[in-house]
Point group: C2
Chain length 420, copies 2
């Protein structure tokens, strides 16, 4: 078998553990030199392939590649770039193949969510059409946990741990302050279409009635009346109320809740996030003192409190992708499977890319309590193992010691490409 190079790229929003997948890919490729030559990483994702801007990972030391395992963000850069419509115009995919040809790339490892699974599938199709063989393997990654056919997605467990720990900590804070001051705390979390991240906040409670008292999911239509009523009941019973709100919280007609807020006493309308919108509603309806937080990028880059399970799975899917490539496989996504049994264990599987692309896995209704405001025991059972274990990064001068790669670029061979 001819030795060919591999291309690896990171796609979409990055996570605390996507670099662990990169580490899994590169370290495993380095052990399979009979099949794989060098691993070239796309600078800023797939855009790097289109523009022939690739990092030669063979120039990075073994130590630095292993340090990727504890470094958040996307070490090679990611992108939010939508490939041109494949059905109307395959030129962009053909450009990819041209770059792959020029650099003798026979393996395409794409590390991302649903969109990148779709791209992966199309690369596979174009390679066939153009008669240039590429094995195209998708490495799952999304904090949103909405990829189908895999029990969970690498990146999610660490966000879940961050959100649950943050809620646990902030709840102790507000519990201390509530007698004479703040009575409501709202944390807005990511997850525009699926409530998995918001749900993970529910793990902060040890027993029924503990904070968080209200979780708002995109899957459950928002009712201002029910929400305010639940806040008031909770404050009467507990003295304070902790809310986890998904950024995707919406009314039954699909309208985002921040778009429809009444003007306040000054005639101003609140712009922006879900948390300040909810805070304004509480102020208008109840007058309670509130605080709110918006974790934004902090939640998905918080490698300092990553889930060990998540880090291990992220590394494993990268490693397995290369192993499957070496076995000659094509057009598949590596999956994580939950083994049967009382205690949690997992193994790796695979799914055909044709089945993965453009499907979104939402929270099942059975994971959400009847009143729509919390998670069920079934959800806990699913979520809890994913945040298990700590995997602290090394520290230097009081801060996590993250790696910066050298990023030596692969010399270009083609003419510039201006279509991106």
């Amino acid at each position: 078998m001819k030795i060919r190079n591999a291309f690896y790229a990171q796609s979409g929003g990055v996570t605390a553990v996507i670099n662990a997948s990169a580490s899994g890919v590169i370290e495993t490729a380095r052990k399979n030199t009979a099949t794989i030559g060098k691993v070239y990483a796309g600078l800023n994702g797939i855009v790097g392939a289109l523009q022939e801007e690739m990092v030669d990972t063979s120039q990075e030391s073994a130590v630095d590649i292993s340090r990727l395992c504890h470094t958040p963000g996307g070490a090679f850069g990611s992108c939010r770039y939508k490939m041109k419509n494949f059905e109307d115009d395959t030129r962009e995919y053909e450009r990819l193949i041209d770059v792959f040809k020029a650099h003798d790339i026979g393996f395409f490892f794409y590390n991302g969510g649903g969109d990148s699974a779709d791209t992966c599938l199309k690369v596979s199709k174009v390679s066939e059409k153009m008669g240039y063989p590429i094995q195209s393997i998708h490495i799952p990654k999304t904090i949103d946990n909405d990829l189908p056919l895999t029990d969970c997605s690498p990146g999610f467990g660490s966000v879940a741990k961050y959100v649950a720990a943050s809620i646990k900590e902030a709840s102790l804070d507000i519990a201390s302050m509530s007698a004479s001051s703040t009575k409501v705390f709202i944390l807005e979390v990511m997850g525009r279409h699926a409530g998995w991240i918001a749900a993970s906040g529910g793990l902060a409670s040890d027993k029924e009635g503990d904070a968080p008292h209200i979780i708002l999911f995109p899957e459950i239509p928002f009712s201002r009346e029910k929400f305010i009523s639940k806040v008031e009941t909770t404050i009467k019973e507990k003295g304070y109320c902790v809310v986890v709100a998904s950024e995707g919280t919406q009314y039954s007609d699909g309208a985002h809740i921040s778009g429809s807020l009444q003007r306040d006493a000054f005639g101003h309308q609140q712009l922006g996030g879900v948390a300040p919108t909810l805070a304004s509603m509480i102020k208008q309806s109840t007058g309670y003192k509130y605080h709110w937080a918006l974790a934004d990028y902090l939640q998905r880059s918080a490698r300092h409190i990553a889930s060990k399970t998540d880090v291990e799975q992220a590394y494993a899917v990268g490693k397995r992708a290369v192993e499957l490539a070496v076995e000659g496989r094509d057009s598949i996504m590596v999956t994580i499977e939950r083994n049967k049994g009382i205690s949690y264990s997992w193994s790796l599987g695979e799914a055909s890319l044709a089945r993965v692309a453009n499907m979104e896995k939402k929270m099942p209704r059975s994971f959400i309590t009847k009143d729509g405001f919390n998670i069920t025991q079934q959800a806990r059972k699913y979520l809890q193992p994913l945040i298990n274990g700590e995997d602290y990064p090394p520290y230097k001068n009081g801060l996590p010691d993250y790696v910066s790669l050298r990023k030596v670029m692969v010399p270009k061979k083609l003419a510039d490409y201006f279509d991106v």
Copy 2:
């Protein structure tokens, strides 16, 4: 010497390490039974003393008291309660003394910031006036780090570590995304009057030019033009721009920046935080894609990433307060002193409460770069040791395992007090 009981209370915004001070007080009192009887803790701060609602800490196990060292929030409840004006009306202070008399309390340990130092001083005065001896000792606590006469304040080092680590992590995230997506990231942090917390974000950079590129301090008047210009220059040079903004960022006339934003294209005015206000300015002036986060309570309750130095200092000031009481001292605050020498070390000192009360320590101008947008080497030298060392809490089921106290109440002896 007659054995007398002690009263301990937590005041104002809680921190990740205020319970370590409580632990220091209670454990040290338990070792000094020849002088100190029981330690009663005010339920919800000083309000608990006024209302004769006190937790009998002798009912808590030694294990639980030691677990306070790794538990954030205020274990006995805190309060934002302003005592009535002492000069016009000493009734409220007299009520305190009545409660202390009824429960044979001879030691008053008040754990808080500037206001509580002032309360501590007044209790001392009233006790003299009423001929009932109370030794009044202030235990410093404030995330704002604005207490005078102490090198730093317990609570600050852990917020500083959280903010610096979060900026380091989020900067890796935005660096990955900036080529095709988000170009500006803003983190709003606490510190209404002093820029210490914002300054700590500067520790995230290893060398000049690293993120954060802009720090906004309350001490430096905000100029929209200079800010936008710095954002644009940074993006040109680095490809992205990371901003740490103090919630107290203000114009030269003292007006808070969020109050003066121009209406957006929809005629809406932005309400609330500094981060969304800055984001709107960037949108209006440059059109760059931005993300922003507001850490709020998460920053001051993040015990999971507490500074070991801070935890040790918080415990030590609690311990020393009791030791000083046993030595017969009164009307003082325990201080932290930075020892001379090349490597950081500290010891404990004390300051007269009369000198502490109502002074606020702001960032010296020499700690801020000439352009007003970053910290100097001198600031780094001051700040860095305060975030040194990790002190992870134990974990259970993937989350920090924080203690909940039993909180057995001391039986009341007096008539109800309705004036609070």
